[in-house]
Each structure stands twice: as structure tokens, then as C-alpha cells.
Amino acid sequence: MTINEAIGAFLIFTGSLFYVLSSLGLIRMPDVYNRMQTATKSATLASLGVMIGVGIYSPCCFPKALVIALFLLLTNPISAHALIRAAYRSGIPLWEGSIVDKYKEALKEEGEQ
């Protein structure tokens, strides 16, 4: 096992652990918003880890793996943002333990104008 294979395998393994973590977050958190938070963050870092790891493991694939990783890094937050806004607008309430909601006030002000 050469040194770059070792580094690549380490990154791939860490990435897959974070994938498992993101699906655990999906199961354990109490409402849509918290699920989205935990799942999106760890899934994005996990994809970054797996793809850079694959690129380092076999250097011939590095540019293309990097392109996929950058694409996911750009689009994952955007789709999370779009979904979370859609969730709020379609009337899903925050978890009952939430302590502040400034967005509701802003939407109400907008409605009055």
C-alpha cells in the first residue's frame, strides 16, 4: 500500500462515517429544520471527503472527482435553502422547544404592506 493509497483510504473511510452520521441526524432530530441542518452539513463534508479521497487514491481520476465535489459543494446548500424556505412557506411549524422566530414577524410585516 503506497502513501497516497493510505491517505485516500483514510479520507474515504472518514467520509463514509460522516454519511452514516448524516442519516442518523435525519432520524434523531425532532423537526424538519433541525433534520435539514444536521443532514446537509455532514452529507456535504462526507461527499467532499469521499471524492477527494478517490482522487488521491487513483490520481488519474482526480480532476473529475474534484469537479463533482465542487459541484456538490455549490448546489447542496442551495437545495437545502430552497427546501427549507418551501417548508416554512407551506406552514410547517418550528419545534415547540424553539426560542425565537424573527422570520414570522418579517413575513407578517410584508403581508401588511
Binding site: T44, V100, K102
Partner: protein, 171 residues
């Protein structure tokens, strides 16, 4: 700062498209290079008006330097965010304290605001819900300071000094 000339915007688009082509094809064969160059010229002619506003001045050394400095900072913030998430998910009592707060940003450029919102989404415990003018609405998993000033200082400020230089926000 106004818009750059058409030639500079066109050349910038060609350069970016050709670099993407190089990454996708992953070969230096002359046929591939010629085809990619011709395609870049054609596509750039069709899209340069929506693709960029500032043209070649995006490739100014100072901006590239700040972009390169932003990457490790951002990656570090992301790894911290994930350790934070791991702690919250695996802790048996689920220590969360969520809420939606409002923050104010000084950035005026649309792309800069997009990158700010994306960076906020990927860093510890925060996720952007909506952008209205200079206000961002952030879902925060562990609210420490619900006031406007405190939250802005806590969430947005660290990124803004990089993004202001990278995306031409000179005011």
C-alpha cells in the same frame, strides 16, 4: 464600480469555460483541446452577458489571493461544523436550542450574498432560510444571542471581510 467592457467580459467567460472543459475531459490531446476551445468561444458568445459583470478584473492577483486564503478558512469552519453536528446527534439528550434569527449584512452584490448564504449554511449550527435586501434570516440550532447586532456579529462578520474583496464590494 461599473461594468467592464464587452471584450473583457467575453474573454473571462472563454477562460472559465475552457478551464472547466480541461477538468472534464482530463486529457491534453490536440483534438480535444481544439474542440474545447471552439465550443468555449461559441458558448461564451451566447452567455457572457449573464455570466459575468466585471470581466477580466475578476482575475486580479489580490482577488485570487483572497480566494485562496478563503478556502482553508472555510474548510476549517466546515470541519468544526461537522464535529459540532456529531456531538449534537450522538449526545443522548440531544442538546439543541433552535430558533430563527435575523442578521444584517453590508454586502450589496448578489453573488456575494449568495456565497455568504451558502457559507452560513455549511458552518456550525446555522442555515439560511431567506434573504430580503440586506437582511438574512438564519435558522440557528443553538441560539446564543437573539438580537440583530449580536447575531450578525456572531454569524456573518467572519466571512464578510473575505467576500468583500473577492466580489468587488467596495463600499
Amino acid at each position: 464600480m461599473g461594468e467592464a467592457s464587452k471584450v473583457s467580459r467575453y474573454l473571462y467567460t472563454v477562460i472559465i469555460l475552457f478551464v472547466i472543459w480541461l477538468f472534464l475531459t482530463n486529457s491534453l490531446d490536440p483534438q480535444e483541446l481544439t474542440m474545447g476551445f471552439v465550443l468555449s468561444l461559441i458558448i461564451a458568445a451566447l452567455t457572457y452577458q449573464v455570466f459575468t459583470k466585471y470581466g477580466l478584473s475578476n482575475l486580479h492577483p489580490k482577488r485570487i489571493l483572497y480566494t485562496v486564503a478563503y478556502i482553508p478558512y472555510f474548510l476549517w469552519a466546515m470541519i468544526m461544523a461537522n464535529l459540532d453536528v456529531a456531538y449534537r446527534v450522538l449526545h443522548p439528550k440531544r442538546p439543541i436550542n433552535p430558533g430563527i434569527v435575523e442578521i444584517k449584512t453590508n454586502l450589496t452584490n448578489d453573488i456575494a450574498k449568495l456565497v455568504l448564504a451558502n457559507s452560513i449554511t455549511l458552518t456550525p449550527g446555522t442555515m439560511s432560510v431567506d434573504v430580503k435586501g440586506d437582511r438574512l434570516y438564519i435558522h440557528w440550532i443553538d441560539v446564543k444571542d437573539p438580537s440583530l447586532e449580536g447575531a450578525s456579529k456572531h454569524i456573518g462578520k467572519p466571512f464578510e471581510k473575505f467576500l468583500r474583496v473577492i466580489f468587488h464590494d467596495d463600499n
